[in-house]
Amino acid sequence: MLPADLTRSATALAAAVRARRVTARTAADHYLGRIAAHDDAVRAFLHVDPAVVRAQADALDARIARGDTAGALLGVPVAIKDNLCTTGQPTTCASKILADYRPPYDAHVVERIRAEGGVILGKTNLDEFAMGASTENSGVAASRNPHDLKRVPGGSSGGSAAAVAAGLAPLALGSDTGGSVRQPAALCGIVGHRPTYGALSRHGLIAFASSLDQVGPMALNLEDCTLLMAVIAGHDSRDSTSRPGGFDAAAARRDDALSGLRIGVPAEYHSDALDPEVRAAVRQLEDLAVGAGARLVPLSMPLTPYAIPTYYLVVTSEASSNLARFDGIRYGPRDEQQELAASYATTRRRFGDEVKRRIMLGTYALSAGYYDAYYKKALQVRARIGEEFARAFARCDVLLGPTTPTPAFPLGEKSDDPVQMYLCDVFTAPAPLAGLPALSMPCGKSKAGLPIGAQLQGPTGADARLFAVARALERRLALDLSPLEAPRGA
């Protein structure tokens, strides 16, 4: 077992492995043990192969013994959302249509983790094909919030968030299309970052909505998130949407980020629908920032409520096309059929309801006669949302607000009403439409002990600055960011 100072900091763990205080195998066994003890309750993971994990750790220990201690993530286990391709393990997007699929290649971000000595710990649960905000749409099982097992961990990267919060993994990768890294991070009390579009390669991220998807690092604290981000960020020539230029880790670690900072506070982020405890936690953060030398800039972003319908039209349209390749012909399970149409039909019956709904919506929005009214209109509103952000960032450096309108809701509460579920994304949907970076950090807990997250948004390329600002706020908040000893509320 690892001591507490090494389980609350992946950075400290890597340093300890590098200094040979602890072996990679010890670290791996620790997390495998935590998974064995607690994942039946949390259901964060879809696939964990202990033999594969130990083999990676043993190989690292062998090279460390030879004196080779290179690698920023040396010996650190990382949980990977199951929509990222990993060789040697299944990648299923929590969907029956990809049951047992084993990709022939690693995602770029997975290659980067391996290259820096990280250990791929296992694949985490998600809403099927990343479509959802609670992980209840998983085609396998729902994950649970470790802070209260009767509540959702958020989605779609619910498994990754729950794993980190419950101490089942020190670091995790998620993916964010409309909030799927930030919202579960907020509901589970951890840090989650959505990078500037193009800052991370999508090669190997199974596509949901191509113009919005981004891989995102998830961790207990800002230093660990910075560490992971620095490893996985960077240009990849296999992705035409990948931007040149990397992540400035040094700038992300600056100390004085709050002094003179102009913090935009949009009026629309404090509507009546906002849970009062969330409102209070975010207000407290604003006060802390002002106390450290920042200035609040009240502003209005009236297009905010239109982000959700815009988002859902764009993502469903792109998804309806991205998911057409799942026809059972080249991979995935297939029932024997005599005729092609029947084969398509039985194969694609394996999609869950939410996936089918979104495919149908997208097909409809793109179809002849409706394209201008729906898809084209959505792209025009998207352009205007981008302009609205640009005008806001002419007057401030970052935007601050809640990540979600409420803390974690009970399992089953929203799963019958799709529109209710969509409204969870009110604060997280706008930034992806404009390709902007956004980070969620823990900023307190409700009286019931449920985590509350605050979101910082910045202009294109401002990832390092968001990290620095969040880091400064984290220090002043001085919350206990340790992982849970055991899940609660069983």
Binding site: P103, P104, A209, S210, S211, A324, D327, I329, R330, S367
Partner: protein, 480 residues
């Protein structure tokens, strides 16, 4: 009521790149099934497209060769439909903003009458794989080697007035693209495919009739056959007082007919939208201009130059511009110093004849242009007789030997040394006393007999003019 046809051709042509349009698989023809595939072109989850620069450059070359207007910024769109040979469930193509628009192709509609047909658009797209339906098998089989191969689609306006005009247009288009280096345009190998849009209307009526699309025309010969059948079929429908149904029909080679391809009516909603994996491309003025500057000379311009600058006949000019490799060889031979007319004669006469006999391709020619020039120079300098030169060339084509080496090997270099010949001539004169006597008796033609004997004695290598001169020196005038 007299009916006239209108025809427009849609031609798909594979670009002469080494790799596919959006992935790095080799784009060559053939290969074992599925050996030229990768995670990208088999649409494994999580893979992404990256555009091949050479494909863009070749598409620009096509646009310039066909005198189109070219867009400086382009996007790609997804054309969504389900078929086993389309791995992603969509084809990456260009919908409403093609790379090139509004060009033209001048071609010889019939002997001596040239016509200009308008090109509506040229766009880039990826090819699909191949679905095979073997007889007797309860399933179909899919080979994805061709999936992702780069294509341009060239859409012509319905400007063609007859099947023979359509065939002439297609020949000219093929030659234009080959001379521009864009594509091999080989229908056998599938690097050129042609679909036709055909309608009929009363003569003189400005509006076009109902358009029928004819697919599966897989050879040049079948272009005219398919069109003739379809025009006759439509004319018959109209003559019966019925309306032509707008549909897609497939050409059946074995019967020479077109048959209706049954399609559900909603199958055509392709739900085009801009591909979100491919943001806009800046083609750029600089790249467009560079492509125009790099465009090789077209076949029509070369014909004019060969006739105008070098005085070649129209026939010669046509033969030499049949294929870019021939024209290129000809130009290079002239550049090496050979006179155009001589070069033209040798290439047409001996080189093409040799290729015809051996079923060879010009691209595989084993001699360089300078080598042909060297051979002709040897003949001009009297080292080879014309007949000998032909034999030497043949050897050069077979083996790749230089002119001098081939002439040596065949022992055909003319003997032009009087001293060397003197002995032979004396021997012949001694041996052929009767013919000498005839000559001295006044028979002038006896000289030719002696010349023949002397040539035979030198195994044909003697310089006939020199031998004749030496004989005359020795014998004096006839009858003398």
């Amino acid at each position: 009521m007299e009916l006239e046809p209108t025809i427009g051709l849609e031609v798909h042509c594979q670009l002469a790149t080494r790799s596919k349009l959006f992935c790095r698989c080799p784009a060559d023809f053939g290969g074992l099934p599925n050996s030229r595939t990768c995670p990208v072109c088999t649409a494994q989850p999580g893979t992404l497209p990256v555009l091949n620069q050479r494909a863009l450059e070749l598409a620009l070359a096509a646009g310039h060769a066909l005198r189109c207007t070219i867009r400086e910024t382009i996007k790609f769109d997804r054309k969504n439909y389900f078929y086993p040979d389309l791995p992603k469930g969509y084809q990456i193509s260009q919908f409403d903003q093609p790379l090139c628009e509004w060009g033209e192709l001048e071609f010889e509609a019939e002997k001596g009458r040239s016509k200009v047909a308008k090109i509506r658009r040229i766009h880039l797209e990826e090819d699909a794989g191949k679905a095979l339906h073997p007889d007797g098998l309860a399933c179909s089989l899919v080979d994805l080697n061709r999936a992702g191969v780069p294509l341009i689609e060239i859409v012509g306006m319905p400007d063609l007035a007859s099947p023979s005009e359509a065939s002439a247009y297609l020949q000219a288009l093929r030659r234009t693209l080959r001379f521009a280096g864009v594509s091999e345009c080989d229908m056998e190998k599938g690097s050129l495919r042609c679909d036709a849009n055909v309608s009929v209307r009363p003569k003189g009526q400005p509006e076009l009739g109902t358009k029928v699309e004819v697919k599966n025309i897989n050879s040049f010969r079948n272009v005219e056959r398919a069109l003739m059948f379809e025009i006759a079929r439509q004319s018959e429908v109209v003559a019966r007082g019925e309306k032509v149904v707008q549909e897609t029909r497939s050409f059946r080679d074995s019967e020479g007919t077109t048959v209706s391809m049954r399609r559900k009516e909603d199958a055509h909603d392709y739900r085009y939208f801009p591909d979100p994996d491919l943001p806009l491309f800046d083609v750029g003025r600089a790249r467009i201009d560079a492509a125009r500057a790099a465009l090789p000379e077209g076949f029509a311009a070369r014909r004019r130059r060969y006739q105008g600058d070098w005085g070649l006949s129209e026939y010669d000019a046509r033969v030499l511009t049949e294929e870019p490799a021939i024209a290129g060889f000809f130009d290079a031979t002239v550049a090496a110093g050979l006179a155009p007319k001589a070069a033209a004669n040798w290439i047409q006469g001996e080189v093409l004849a040799f290729l015809g006999e051996t079923r060879g391709e010009f691209e595989q020619l084993r001699i360089a242009p300078a080598a042909l020039h060297a051979l002709v120079r040897m003949e001009e300098q009297g080292e080879l007789s014309h007949q000998a030169a032909k034999k030497v060339l043949r050897r050069m084509l077979e083996t790749g030997d230089s002119a001098a080496a081939a002439a040596q090997a065949l022992d055909l270099v003319q003997i032009r040394d009087s001293g060397a010949l003197a002995g032979t001539i004396d021997a012949v004169l001694a041996a052929e006393a009767k013919i000498v006597g005839d000559y001295k008796g006044g028979k002038e033609t006896a000289l030719n007999a002696l010349l023949g004997r002397a040539m035979k004695a030198t195994k044909g290598k003697g310089d006939p003019n020199l031998i004749k001169q030496l004989l005359l020196e020795k014998l004096g005038k006839p009858g003398g």
